[in-house]
């Protein structure tokens, strides 16, 4: 098998020599954006107002929240599309599987295990992640689990991940294509991606991927994607504070 090594790129050999890393980190990090609350209001005003006439600034100032609230309340969604937010996300494949079901108002570019040797970073639920499910799925709750249960789950994952990595590396060094060697890689493997969305698709995501007991439609997403959604919400709130406020005030229903 020694002849394969020289066909690989230096950085690929580096990755293949790495020891597995186990982590509980989940990242949804701001990268870039276009627009703010006022741009959403401006887009709405195109429907009702002559574009040439300037509005009285004081009157405009007072009208900002009521106007955004009117749109949220009456589900006038399109003005909330007239802005953009871009994120860098790092999370296990199982999270990306859920995420990519959001099709509209979402653009994705993700690491490809066909094109690159994936580095051995694996997700393991940390001690703050409740790992025991109580009740049927439609009304499930998750409870912490004992420290012993946490330790056992950690060990199980380390064991399975380590062998998967070993078999993956052996495959590559045996001359197998990256795209079939990857079969053994677990859905707990980390991947990363760049996502561009808009405030409307952002709210649609949050409404389904956050557990908010006070929401009009309560969702029970998986804990891991909920953590990502929480970070997304922080950015959303910082960039579009009034839009976020009316979203929450209207029961977290995406307009």
């Amino acid at each position: 098998m020694s002849d394969v090594r020289h066909q690989l790129k230096p950085e690929e050999l580096v990755v293949l020599n790495m020891d597995p890393i186990f982590s509980s980190a989940l990242i949804c990090r701001y990268k870039d954006h276009m627009g703010n609350d006022d741009d959403i209001i401006e887009a709405m005003l195109v429907s009702t107002k002559d574009q040439e006439t300037e509005e009285d600034p004081e009157k405009f100032e007072k009208s900002r929240k009521p106007r955004l609230n009117f749109m949220a309340e009456h589900r006038h969604g399109s003005p909330f599309e007239q802005a953009a937010i871009k994120f860098y996300v790092k999370a296990p494949i199982m999270v990306f599987r859920e995420w990519h079901r959001h099709r509209i108002g979402f653009s994705y570019n993700e690491a490809s295990a066909r094109y690159k040797v994936m580095p051995p970073e694996f997700y393991i639920p940390g001690p703050d992640r409740p790992i025991v499910q109580v009740g049927k799925h439609s009304k499930a709750e998750w409870v912490p689990g004992t420290p012993e249960q946490h330790e056992r789950q950690w060990n199980r994952k380390v064991q399975a991940y380590s062998l998967a990595w070993e078999m993956y590396v052996e495959g590559i060094l045996d001359g197998e294509a990256k795209e079939t060697a990857r079969c053994v890689l677990p859905v707990g493997l980390y991947s990363d991606m760049i996502v561009t969305l808009n405030p409307r698709s952002c709210m649609a995501f949050l409404s389904l991927r956050q557990y908010q007991p006070d929401a009009m439609f309560v969702s029970r997403p998986q804990w891991e994607i909920n953590q990502c959604a929480n970070q997304m919400e922080e950015t959303f709130k910082r960039l579009f504070p009034l839009t976020h406020e009316v979203y929450v005030a209207n029961g977290r229903v995406a307009p």
Copy 2:
């Protein structure tokens, strides 16, 4: 009918007293954007490159165009979605009718004739607009038309527009709802809108809404939307010069 006037807003009365304006203007004006050529490359690199490793700046510089070209040539479209451009558009309703058939990667907010009294601005093809069609539609060409033909078409439109406006104003002053009074308004009436799109949907639009004899798939759009597309292309080219270059070099096929 005098009692209706006091129910109208002052600015509505102003509009109702206006004389019709006839114009040949078509506007697609830059408002805002997010991202540049390098952001598109960066999105692509997520697939193939470890995100933590810095690339050699000189090597990166040289690789920019080949990388964008590779994506355009092989129709890797998604990285071209990781940016945004926003326009203000002013054009007759018939142009908006064609434009709104673009559904994916397009967000719209348009003047609403249900919510506001539309101002009397009407489109009439100008002397530079070829108004005579030669040949069947699938292989149509448009030729200038004689000065007399141009004069006659101008007169016809002024006549029809003027009566439409008169009937519209009478309707409003007769207490009729804006939303039914508008029935008589022609598709040559100006409307305006805000549009957000991304470089990928921009190229899809340009590939269908510009007549480019050297394109791989030659399209024969209506002259009016073609003028808007030309303005859009200027902005696109200014903001994403390399992306525009590889788009043109690859036969103006949207990736």
Copy 3:
């Protein structure tokens, strides 16, 4: 201008010789469909059930409504996309303008005034259409209007429509391209289209285009598109009776 006539197709000459027709008809007619309530349930069961195991038919029968209701209540929308309905629609352009703003889960093919000479059929609100608006738009109500108001609006539209048609015909016979001659045609002109949608996008449409005082989010659509939506709902109810039932029971919120 006599030389132009022989360049036109016989059927175009027929249309150009027609007298304007004025009508209040609005049509959304069933054409075709795929699937039923059980196909939606089957799509949902892929998530939770082994596909090889047959379910007890009696148990399945009882579970149908609760399962659909669960999806509607918890906004599990995707199974409602696993079917299709196709309609033929005939309505004035102003209705199509609103309709085409529905971008997702909607496919359209519409009459083209670039390709064909449009026949002179024009919409005029009938006596059952309330034409007087009371109150500001966000809380507007529409009241019938007096018989005199109705008569006056009918006359205004006949007058404007007739001249528009005259100018359009003159334009064509003057050798003007159909695509610019059409500028004078009003948004009250009838057009027709074929629309394919799915139960999910159907419910999204109905939730915005029907006035239902008992809905969780009350919408105030224009009367004309509401009539089309009512016809669409009849078909939807006939083809997917249980889905329709849970949609209504859950406040007419599109899942």
Copy 4:
């Protein structure tokens, strides 16, 4: 750990007691459809033809292929959306990961490892699958590999899959939630889904997910999704033979 068993459903216990199954099968099976070639033509004719006039049947018959060809050649895509095809797909997770990147004109419902205990069926490339990659990815070719390489890759996957399954079962029996126990499951695990698409999105899929050396834009998809695409093409060709024919004749470019 014995107390957990009685909390599980009988069918879940059955699955947990199963031995892993290793397979090379890839399935994309027809389930249902709406429409045919003539419905696509009919949708196109709405643009150009009076809907009330019957066309001469003989003339229509002759015009079918040229009309479809005209649309394919000039990229008039929307009529190809006026039909639907539904498939049942069974393939490893890594194939679904690629598939779900197709967002427009695709509806999905997939098995959920949050809701059900996944059965232990794992994909292993069979002897007909070339597993050795030659050349850089953008111009990669795949060659068979020696029988010894095939045997070694089979063994590696059996080893990794078996331990992953063991750790998954242990997790469930240790009281761990299905949604975290699944972290160890590999992307080679089989999943299944129901997919609804239309002829246009079907062609977009085929153009990217089949390797066709004679295509205008040659794509190099992963072998496994290519197998699924081949089965999809068979169904597409059977249901829409003329559409398929013009798609191929026009260089397999999705209109």
